[in-house]
Symmetry: C2
Subunit: 402 residues, 2 copies
């Protein structure tokens, strides 16, 4: 078995190589939150569709309020959905509400606080000719492209899509990820534990991470350390875009997962990656399905999922690369020089009074410490062989909030 030592960057390039966005599907607006847009969207109307009042007040002619105070005849009202249909003649004023169409003839809005109305007469005390009108198309114009493919749909994107008069959106199908835990000793949470048994926990964390990325996780259960069990369960996940195996990929004679899946005809690689935590990684393809074998250790598995799985999912979603560089933070304490492996240090951060993110590694970086990992909020990324850093210097981080 080839046991290459790969850099994280090399491994990442290999696992994401050739991945393209999945098919698109149409979804109604109210089911599209969190999904990724599959095409560009051009406005289907002009907004506002007419010159609209920006204030509650009175629509008047600028010439009529050139000298103040001015007394104008109140001739009607214009409200949203209830337009004043006639022309505002010289000497006239129309009561108007925010967002309502400015009637023909009027070109100025007098704010209601600047006027007084009684017995059909409006006394204008203050006015700025031409002010407080939102011209037609100030927000956007029909045909204008306002949302592009690759955009994640949140509250503002969906509100905008609705404003553009779209009842549904074309989004990427959600990538499906099948999760296969392995190990004779692994039992589901809530089990009465025999000696040496350990509780399966990784699938629950991965499923939450996958869901937070807008993808779909399906759990295949826990395979025993034998080919039949591994193959049977792996086959039940063949509909998934990605099959994740957990554990069983240790060095030497215990690479049962690798052997079993090779028997299925998968082209598999098994890599030692120059990273901490999470050194071993299994990777392969069968047709359209990618197979990623993560370590059984929960901390290592979740760190590897952030580093390798999340970029795979984002390529399948066609998520646009962020224009932003990856976030950085300032060290709250000195760091030693790093060894030959890229180190993903579990860390907690805080915002200082000066608006800076300060980050502090957890005191122990032992990959067996799940409880401590739950208290972290980011990973500090330290490339291989980087020199020591002092408090106040900056480091790249990966935020951990799902």
């Amino acid at each position: 078995m080839l046991m290459a030592l790969l850099t994280v960057a090399e491994a990442l390039a290999r696992v994401t190589d050739g991945l393209v966005p999945l098919d698109a599907e149409a979804l109604p607006l109210d089911q599209a939150a969190g999904r990724v847009l599959a095409c560009e969207m051009a406005a289907r109307l002009t907004q506002p569709p007419f010159d609209a009042s920006a204030m509650d007040g009175y629509a008047v002619r600028a010439a009529d309020v050139a000298s103040l105070p001015a007394r104008l005849r109140l001739i009607g009202e214009s409200a949203a959905g209830h337009r004043f249909g006639r022309v505002v003649e010289p000497g006239a004023a129309v009561r108007i509400f925010t967002g309502a169409p400015v009637p023909e003839g009027a070109d100025t809005i007098v704010i209601q606080e600047d006027a007084e109305e009684s017995d059909g007469v409006v006394l204008v005390r203050e006015a700025a000719p031409g002010r407080h009108i939102r011209p037609r198309g100030q927000d956007f114009s029909e045909g204008q492209v306002l949302l592009r493919a690759g955009r994640r749909l949140g509250s503002r994107e969906l509100m905008l899509a609705a404003s553009m008069n779209y009842p549904e959106l074309l989004v990427r199908r959600r990538p499906k990820v099948a999760l296969l835990a392995t190990g004779d000793e692994v039992v589901p949470p809530g089990s009465e534990l025999a000696a040496d048994q350990i509780v399966s926990s990784v699938p629950y964390g991965l499923a939450a991470l996958i869901a937070a990325e807008g993808c779909e996780a399906m759990s295949l259960g826990i395979a025993k350390d034998d080919t039949e069990s591994l193959v049977t369960l792996a086959r039940s996940g063949r509909a998934a875009d990605i099959l994740i195996t957990i554990g069983g990929a240790s060095v030497g004679a215990r690479d049962l997962v690798s052997s079993a899946l090779r028997g299925e005809g998968l082209e598999l690689d098994f890599w030692k990656i120059a990273m901490r935590p999470g050194k071993p990684l299994l990777y392969g393809k069968l047709g359209h399905q990618r197979v990623l074998g993560l370590p059984g250790n929960p901390v290592s598995a979740l760190v590897c999922a952030h580093v390798f799985l999340v970029p795979m999912l984002r390529k399948l979603l066609g998520l646009a690369e962020r224009a932003q560089p990856s976030p950085e933070a300032l060290l709250a304490e000195d760091l030693e020089a790093n060894g030959p492996r890229e180190h993903y240090m579990r860390a907690v951060s805080e915002w200082t009074a000066e608006g800076k993110r300060r980050v502090k590694p957890l005191p122990s970086q032992d990959s067996s410490l799940m409880a401590a990992f739950a208290e972290a909020d980011c990973l500090i990324v330290r490339p291989p062989h980087v020199p020591a850093l002092s408090q106040g210097q900056r480091v790249r981080i990966i935020p951990l909030d799902d």
Copy 2:
């Protein structure tokens, strides 16, 4: 009608006053992502449950590797789930894998790279007595409280809960929010638009925001500007914890929503709030249901939802207050002094090479600009009457990513 001018802080205190966390419900781990924990959780086991190897290698007695090189008899193997059941006698070594139980008698792990195995003999070249053992309970001990009520459950929390041997969790019921759009002129997205009609967009944005907070939105449709239509649709949302009305809460004669709901026996207030955008706010109670009336303008409605609705939802969820102060950022340009209203300025931010978040207000703060709002990523919060600020000074922000 009382038309008090309230500060944002006063209004927020009133709308959240008396809100307590909703009932708890038990959910299996794989359905609990994004939910909020309703009780503290103590570990149901000790992790690791035995002294475990931290490396792949050989379990030996420290005395046997005090002088090196040492030649030891290989007497067996200890793997996860396959413990070596006998004692490691002097002169013996046991092949061991990461996470496996350290057999009785052994107190040191020799890393495999530091030893050579052939013909049942292990030649140890390097060893550090006592090293590479994770003592029983190093991660956590049975009975230790590791997760507390009010914690949002993400990938790491769920992985930890599983590791603690919980098959299910007690979480807060999801707050239900009913969304009622109003207005004779308002039509659903995708409609053929008549003159003066406008497309309903706010419910889609609010629903996405509510879902992102781990709550449940139900859309009641679009009420006409008459009491019967408003009352009929509002009644269809009585099962909700919060009823949101959108629009229809303008000043003066057009406060149809307020009148209609008062007729239902609701105690309603109608406030002008010293804030931009989103001045008018309708608020009331009927029994357990809170009613919040947002402006019809999409930008104002969504800003008000961030400022008032999100804190209401978090109280109903029992979400623990963050220890962190609200985020801040550094101004990328000068800001003028603020007027009498708290200003929520739409802004875009970027991370500088020094790890600082720099923020720049959108060129126009007109609340009718939905397309521009979609490009923002945060709100700059400017309290009333604050003086001008210079580039580089810090401001409080509300991030907008759902």
